[in-house]
């Protein structure tokens, strides 16, 4: 019985060919990813520090909401990222499905948990904001409800891929689900907004953030870019472990 030796350095194909295809093979991309990860983590850390500094020390105190509103500097960027990552994830999955490439599909799978994390963070910080402001831990406003549904979509994607043993089937099935999801997301968002205005009028609305001073906007943007850098780093990290799991020790011949 031949043992599959999963080492970190098997005979690796040297990257060759036009630049955009050179790193298309997972094994060729792996060392490139390894080099990029520390830079993205570093960028994320620096920007996060800058953003939080702006958010907590530079931005003025809000007239109506006091200091509590500062959670917006995490809540809004997290919500933005949760939506953005879903789009990117669906995009990579679609490319993997159409062009039958493995790396794109792995990237989609790598992004999903990070996207789910941001969705959860948005929900959690939304609750933290809601309690002092509106007196309740949860509020069925349009954004929070949409985020909740988005969390369900992420969980569905992850659950589907987890339930399928064959990695290629998991890739392709996840891609179909992600594409159907991405088409649905605007519909869901629109429906939930409509539902919210109908049932609650204009009273409870977490999205009625304090009038944006320039510094507040700046703080949120810096935090958003920080989250973006973090997402790339985390996704590449997870991608490397997916590559290790799937590509190394492959070609095990039947005994």
């Amino acid at each position: 019985m031949t043992e599959a030796t999963a080492t970190r350095n098997p005979a690796r194909p040297q990257p060759a060919g036009p630049i955009w295809l050179r790193y298309a093979a997972p094994l060729a991309f792996d060392p490139l990813a390894a080099r990029m990860i520390p830079w993205f983590f570093g960028a994320a850390a620096i920007l996060a520090l800058a953003g939080l500094y702006v958010g907590f020390f530079v931005a003025p105190t809000d007239a109506t909401q006091g200091e509590v509103y500062r959670v917006i500097f995490i809540h809004v960027p997290a919500a933005w990222m949760s939506m953005f990552i879903y789009l990117v994830m669906a995009g990579w999955a679609a490319i993997g499905l159409i062009f039958n490439t493995r790396l794109s599909a792995m990237m989609a799978s790598a992004l999903a948990p990070t996207g789910a994390m941001f969705t959860f963070l948005a929900l959690w910080t939304g609750a933290l904001w809601g309690k002092p402001t509106w007196g309740t831990w949860w509020v069925w406003d349009a954004r929070l409800t949409s985020e909740l549904i988005l969390l369900f979509l992420y969980i569905g994607f992850i659950a589907l891929q987890a339930a399928i043993e064959d990695p290629r089937r998991a890739d392709r099935a996840g891609a179909v689900l992600a594409i159907v999801g991405v088409v649905n997301v605007p519909i869901i968002y629109f429906s939930v907004r409509w539902w919210n205005t109908l049932h609650q009028g204009a009273s409870v609305n977490l999205t009625s953030a304090p009038k944006m001073a320039t510094t507040m906007l700046l703080g949120m943007l810096i935090m958003a870019v920080a989250c973006w850098m973090y997402s790339i780093a985390a996704a590449l990290w997870r991608l490397r472990s997916i590559i290790a799991e799937r590509e190394f020790g492959f070609d095990v011949e039947a005994p």
């Binding site: 549904i149 369900f152 979509l153 969980i155 569905g156 659950a159 589907l160 339930a163 399928i164 064959d166 290629r168 089937r169 392709r172 099935a173 179909v176 689900l177 594409i179 159907v180 999801g181 088409v183 649905n184 519909i187 869901i188 629109f190 429906s191 939930v192 409509w194 539902w195 109908l198």
Partner: protein
Amino acid sequence: MWRALQGVFSRDLALAWRQRSDVLSTLVFFVMVVSLFPLGLGPEPATLRAVAPGVLWVAAMLASMLSLARLFAGDHADGTLEQLLLAPQPLTYLVLAKITAHWVASGLPLTLLAPLLGVQFDMSGADIAILTASLAVGTPVLSLVGAVGAALTVGLRGAGVLVPLLVLPLCIPVLIFGTGAVDAAASGAGPGPHFSILGAMLGLALAGAPLASAAALRISLD
């Protein structure tokens, strides 16, 4: 090609009839779930009247999710699904024929049963009519979107619980506008726009779901 579509459609209907107990179980589940709510919320007629559209719609969604297991699983087990993939006709249309037969055997009976349950909740006649109409337009969308979920999970071990997990979030807009139509009619605002949107969703589902399901079936049977 028409003969092939008819073949698929009539076969599924014949099977649904001969396996009547499965269909009836779904309907009984629907009735049971609806009956749970008064037991849980209290029998106060005003409360029940207020929650009726939502309760009936949610119960219909859950019952549909249950019945989706039937859509491809049986065919997968006995090898008929493979033959469908090898037919000379485009799989998209064959799948649409299957979904239609499935709706006739599950969504349609649910819709026809709804008025009786609406009476249980002391809904007015007009409201019942609007609710039934909303179900008539909405349950096909549930079948269509559900088919994509069923196709993705064909043959998987946890398919029973996975299908609702995947499909329910995608069906939330149908729920919102289905119940919204009843509320709009009750408040005098007119359910027209809601039905337009439901109709648009049905159109979109008809255009996209059979295609997505066909692609998912080829992936699942790979």
